[in-house]
C-alpha cells in the first residue's frame, strides 16, 4: 500500500484541507473558507505533537506519544487507517518524502527515523539516526537527501541520507532547539529556540552547507515554530508570548505581529500556497486565519475543547 495510491486519481485529494489537533485527543478537519468543522477524528491516549498532510493530500499523519497515526481524509472513518509504533517516547515531528516514498520522524527517544510505509515489501528503507538529546525538530531539505535534526541540547545535526555522515551546528549554547524550517527554494534555513531567538543560515553548494547569516531576537519567550512561506519571502515564528510574527526574508525586518485578545500560546502556523493567508493554532483552542498583507483576522475555527498544538494545511493551486 503506497501513500501515493491516489496520486494519479486526484479526486478529493486535490482539495483544500485544514487539519488541527491538540490536547483534547481529537483531530479536526475544517472547511477552511467557511470555518465549519467537517469531521472529527479520534487520536486516543495522547495529545497531537505535529500534523502533516501526505503529498497527495489523501491522508494526514499525526504524531503523539509512542505512535504515528495516519488518517484517511477522504473517508468518514474517525479512526486511523495506519498506526506506526515501536517508539518508546513522544514523537515530536513527522514529515514525508516529496513523492511519499518514505516518512521521517523525530522524537524524545533521541532518534530521527525513516519509516517505510509500504511494509512487507522486499526492499525496506527503514533507517535510524541517534543523537545525544531528545529531538524536538526534524525537517527534510527540498533536495530530499538531508534531514536537519534539532535537539534539546541545542544542537542541529545535519544528517546526510546518502552518506550517513553528519555535521553539527550549535547556534546558541544551552538553548533547546524548538523548530527548524527550510525555505521551499532550499536556500535558507531557520531555527528557533526556547529563549525566543531565531537563527538564520544560507544553504549553498551540493550537498548544501549551512552558513550562519543572522540572529533575530524574535520573541522574548519560548519560541515554538518557524515556517517559510511558499514564495520564501516570509518567515513566521510563533511563541509562548501569545503572538505569531512575520519576518521579511529580504532584510529580516518585522513585517507583522499577529495578536488577538484571547489568543494564547501560538503552537503552529501554516501559509496558503499564494503566501497571502496564514493559519495559526493556539492554546485558547481556536485556530485563526489571518490576511498577511492587511494583518486582519479573517476566520476563526472553534470546536476544540483544549489547546490546539498542531495544524496542517494543504492548499491547491488553481
Amino acid at each position: 500500500m503506497s501513500l501515493e495510491a491516489s496520486n494519479s486519481s486526484g479526486g478529493g485529494g486535490s482539495q483544500v484541507a485544514l487539519v488541527t489537533g491538540g490536547y483534547d485527543h481529537t483531530i479536526k478537519l475544517w472547511q477552511a473558507h467557511s470555518g465549519v468543522c467537517l469531521r472529527t477524528m479520534q487520536h486516543p491516549d495522547s495529545q497531537v505533537n505535529a500534523l502533516e498532510i501526505t503529498p497527495s493530500g489523501q491522508m494526514v499523519a499525526a504524531c503523539g506519544y509512542q505512535h504515528i497515526r495516519m488518517y484517511d481524509l477522504q473517508s468518514a472513518n474517525p479512526d486511523p487507517v495506519m498506526n506506526f509504533e515501536g517508539v518508546t517516547k513522544n514523537v515530536s515531528r513527522v514529515g514525508f518524502h516529496e513523492d511519499g516514498k518514505w516518512m521521517y520522524t523525530g522524537g524524545e527517544d533521541c532518534t530521527a527515523r525513516i519509516w517505510d510505509p509500504r511494509a512487507g515489501r522486499q526492499l525496506q528503507c527503514q533507517r535510524i539516526f541517534q543523537v545525544p538529546a531528545p529531538v524536538n525538530a526534524v525537517v527534510l531539505h527540498p533536495d530530499q537527501t538531508q534531514i536537519m535534526v534539532g535537539d534539546q541540547s541545542g544542537i542541529i545535526h545535519v544528517w546526510d541520507l546518502r552518506t550517513d555522515k553528519n555535521d553539527q551546528l550549535i547556534p546558541e549554547a544551552e538553548a533547546s532547539i524548538q523548530d527548524i524550517a527550510i525555505a521551499p527554494e532550499g536556500k535558507l534555513m531557520a531555527a528557533v529556540n526556547n529563549k525566543g531567538n531565531c537563527y538564520v543560515w544560507t544553504l549553498d553548494g551540493t550537498p548544501p552547507r549551512p552558513v550562519p547569516r543572522r540572529q533575530l531576537l524574535a520573541h522574548n519567550k519560548y519560541a515554538l515554530r518557524c515556517k517559510f512561506s511558499h514564495d520564501s519571502t516570509m518567515l513566521v515564528t510563533t511563541s509562548g508570548d501569545c503572538s505569531a510574527k512575520l519576518w521579511r526574508t529580504s532584510d529580516w525586518s518585522l513585517l507583522r505581529e499577529l495578536r488577538h485578545d484571547t489568543q494564547r500560546w501560538v503552537w503552529d502556523a501554516a501559509f496558503s500556497i499564494d503566501s497571502r493567508y496564514l493559519f495559526t493554532g493556539s492554546s485558547d483552542s481556536y485556530a485563526r486565519l489571518w490576511d498577511v498583507e492587511k494583518g486582519t483576522l479573517e476566520r476563526e475555527y472553534c470546536g476544540h475543547q483544549k489547546p490546539i498544538t498542531a495544524l496542517a494545511f494543504k492548499d491547491h493551486a488553481v
Binding site: 483534547d24 470555518g35 468543522c37 495506519m82 509504533e85 526492499l123 530530499q144 496558503s272 493567508y277
Partner: protein, 525 residues
C-alpha cells in the same frame, strides 16, 4: 476499619473500586492479569504447601509429635506463616476476600450484564476496530541497507524555484465573504458529535420563532452534557445558520428554550429554562426555541453595555426589538437602544475609564450628597430554592423597597410580592463575590427591629446570629458597576443614620473578629 491492615483485602478492594467505577472498561483491561490479591493468596498457599512437604520429608522431627496425639492438618497449616500471608490469623475463605465493592446499579431490580461480558464486548469491538487499522511496527532487526540500496532510494531531486500560484483557498474566501454562523462561533465548541470521551446530550429543538414553513422538522442537536442552556441556545443558532444560511437569526440573547411536546407545541405553562443551568439537569428532550419578546417571563439576566467588538459580533442585537437592559448608572430604565446611542455610551464609558482617577475623588463626594436621594435599580433577587427574580430595588433615606418586575402569571411556585425594609432595620450591606459578569451583594437586616413587612413565607431570608438579635439576609445580583454603586449608596445612608440596629451588628461583628484573632494568636504562640 478493622481490616485496613489486610493487604489482600485492600488490594482487592482498590482494584474492584477502579473496575466498578470506570465506565470505559479501560481499568479492567489495564489491570487484567494483575490481580495481586489473588497472586498473593496463591503464593501463600504454595509456600504453605512447600513448607508442609518439607516438614513431612523430615520424619525424625515431624514424627516426634505423633506421640502427642493427632494434630490435624488444618492446625498444622495455620501455624505455617509465610511472607505472603497478609493476615496470618484470618481464614482465607472466598467469602472473606469476596466482592467487597458492589456497584450501585446492582442493587436495582434487574442485574446488569456482568463486567466480564461487558469487557468481552469491548474487547471484541476493539479487535474489530484494530483489524481495520494497519499496524506497522518499527523493526529493529532489519538489516543495514547497502550503499547501492541507499543510492537507489535516497536520490537527490532537483530543487525547483516554486512558481507563483493562485490559491484555491483565496478563491473560496472571495466567493464566501458572508458568514451567517460566525456570530455564534463561540458556541461551536459545545458540539457533542465531535467529542471523545465526554458525556453528551441530544435534543430535538423546534424553531418556533421562525415562520411556520420552517417549523416542520425539529433540529436535532447534540451538545456536551455540561453545556448550559444558553450554550445550547447558541449552538442551536450556530447549527441552524450553517444548515440554513439563507435564514437570519437574531442574537442568542433574544431567545429562550421552553419545554415542548413531541409535535413542537410549546408548553407555555412553564417558564423558559434557566439559561445558566447545565442542560444535563433537564430530562426533557423536546424543546422549543422561542423569541423572548413574545414571552411573559423574563428569563435572562440584564445585558451589560456591549463593547465595540460585541457590536460587531452580534450585528442584529440592536434591531431585534427585544428591550435591552442597560444597568449602567446612566440607563437604569432599559429601553430599546439604538446603535448610535450605544456607541455614544461606549464613548462615554471610554472617557470615564481614562478619567477614572480624578473622578474617583469627585465620586466619593457625590455619593455622599447623592446617597439620600431616592433611586431605583434593576437587580436579581437570589433565592435558595426557587428561581431568581428580577426586581426593582428602590433605595431612599427612609427605606429600601423591593418590587418584583415580572408578573408571574404562570410561575405558580415563585409568587413573590412587594416588600420593603425600614432603613433603620438594615444592619449591613456588602459585596459578596464578583464573578465574570455579575456581582453578588448582601443585605443584612433585623426583622424584629422595625415595622418592616414582606411576603409571608420570608423568601430567601435565612437566619443566623442566634439567639440575641436575629439577623436575616437578602442576596442580590447585578452587573459589577451597579452593585458597587448600590452598596456604596446603602452604606453611606447607613452611616448617616447610624441606627441602633447597625451599631449592634457592627459591635457583634467586631467582637467576632477579635475572638478569632486572639484565638489565632494564642495558637500561634
Amino acid at each position: 476499619m478493622a481490616t485496613y491492615d489486610n493487604k489482600i483485602w485492600l488490594l482487592k478492594n482498590i482494584r474492584e473500586a477502579f473496575i466498578a467505577t470506570d465506565d470505559t472498561g479501560l481499568c479492567e483491561i489495564v489491570m487484567a492479569g494483575e490481580d495481586f490479591s489473588k497472586l498473593f493468596q496463591n503464593k501463600a498457599l504454595e509456600d504453605k504447601k512447600r513448607i508442609r512437604e518439607g516438614q513431612l520429608s523430615q520424619p525424625s522431627t515431624s514424627r516426634v509429635k505423633e506421640g502427642m496425639g493427632d494434630i490435624s492438618e488444618d492446625d498444622d497449616e495455620k501455624e505455617i506463616v509465610t511472607q505472603f500471608d497478609p493476615y496470618p490469623d484470618m481464614e482465607d475463605s472466598e467469602e472473606e476476600y469476596g466482592s467487597s465493592y458492589l456497584r450501585y446499579e446492582e442493587f436495582g431490580g434487574h442485574r446488569q450484564r456482568s463486567n466480564t461480558a461487558q469487557w468481552l464486548d469491548k474487547k471484541e469491538q476493539a479487535l474489530k476496530k484494530a483489524a481495520k487499522i494497519k499496524v506497522i511496527k518499527w523493526d529493529d532487526s532489519s538489516t543495514q541497507l547497502s550503499t547501492e540500496q541507499i543510492a537507489e532510494i535516497f536520490t537527490r531531486s532537483e530543487v525547483k524555484k516554486p512558481e507563483n500560484k493562485k490559491s484555491l483557498l483565496a478563491e473560496q474566501m472571495e466567493k464566501c465573504p458572508d458568514l451567517p454562523h460566525r456570530q455564534y462561533l463561540e458556541y461551536a465548541k459545545f458540539d457533542g458529535t465531535a467529542q471523545m470521551g465526554l458525556p453528551v446530550k441530544s435534543f430535538k429543538i423546534f424553531m418556533t420563532m421562525l415562520p411556520e414553513k420552517h417549523q416542520n422538522y425539529p433540529l436535532v442537536v447534540c451538545v456536551i452534557a455540561n453545556a448550559k442552556i444558553k450554550d445550547l441556545i447558541g449552538f442551536t443558532c450556530y447549527k441552524y445558520s450553517i444548515e440554513h444560511p439563507e435564514i437570519s437569526l437574531g442574537s442568542v440573547h433574544n431567545y429562550g428554550l421552553c419545554i415542548a411536546e413531541d409535535d413542537g407545541e410549546v408548553d407555555w405553562a412553564f417558564p423558559c429554562l434557566d439559561i445558566n443551568e447545565p442542560c444535563s439537569k433537564f430530562g426533557f428532550t423536546c424543546l422549543g426555541l422561542v423569541e423572548l419578546k413574545n414571552k411573559h417571563v423574563f428569563a435572562h439576566a440584564p445585558l451589560s453595555i456591549p463593547e465595540e467588538s460585541m457590536l460587531e459580533v452580534f450585528p442584529k442585537a440592536g434591531e431585534s426589538g427585544q428591550s435591552h437592559q442597560n444597568p449602567s448608572r446612566q440607563h437604569t430604565g432599559g429601553s430599546a437602544t439604538s446603535e448610535a446611542v450605544r456607541k455614544a455610551i461606549n464613548a462615554v464609558n471610554q472617557e470615564r475609564k481614562v478619567a477614572e482617577s480624578e473622578l474617583d475623588k469627585i465620586q466619593s463626594h457625590l455619593n455622599a450628597t447623592d446617597a439620600p436621594q431616592y433611586k431605583t435599580y434593576r437587580v436579581h433577587l437570589l433565592r435558595k430554592v426557587r428561581t431568581n427574580t428580577l426586581v426593582q430595588l428602590g433605595i431612599s433615606l427612609e427605606r429600601i423597597e423591593v418590587e418584583p418586575l415580572v408578573a408571574h402569571k404562570h410561575q405558580f411556585w415563585s409568587r413573590s410580592k412587594y416588600f420593603r425594609l425600614n432603613i433603620d432595620s438594615v444592619a449591613w450591606c456588602q459585596i459578596l463575590e464578583a464573578r465574570a459578569n455579575k456581582t453578588t451583594f448582601r443585605l443584612v437586616y433585623s426583622p424584629s427591629n422595625s415595622n418592616y413587612y414582606c411576603d409571608p413565607n420570608n423568601s430567601g431570608g435565612t437566619s443566623f446570629f442566634p439567639p440575641s438579635t436575629v439577623y436575616k439576609i437578602y442576596d442580590f445580583e447585578c452587573e459589577h458597576e451597579m452593585a458597587r454603586e448600590i452598596v456604596d449608596k446603602i452604606n453611606t445612608i447607613l452611616d448617616l443614620r447610624n441606627s441602633p440596629c447597625r451599631r449592634e451588628y457592627k459591635t457583634s461583628k467586631e467582637k467576632k473578629t477579635q475572638t478569632r484573632r486572639s484565638f489565632q494568636t494564642r495558637h500561634l504562640s
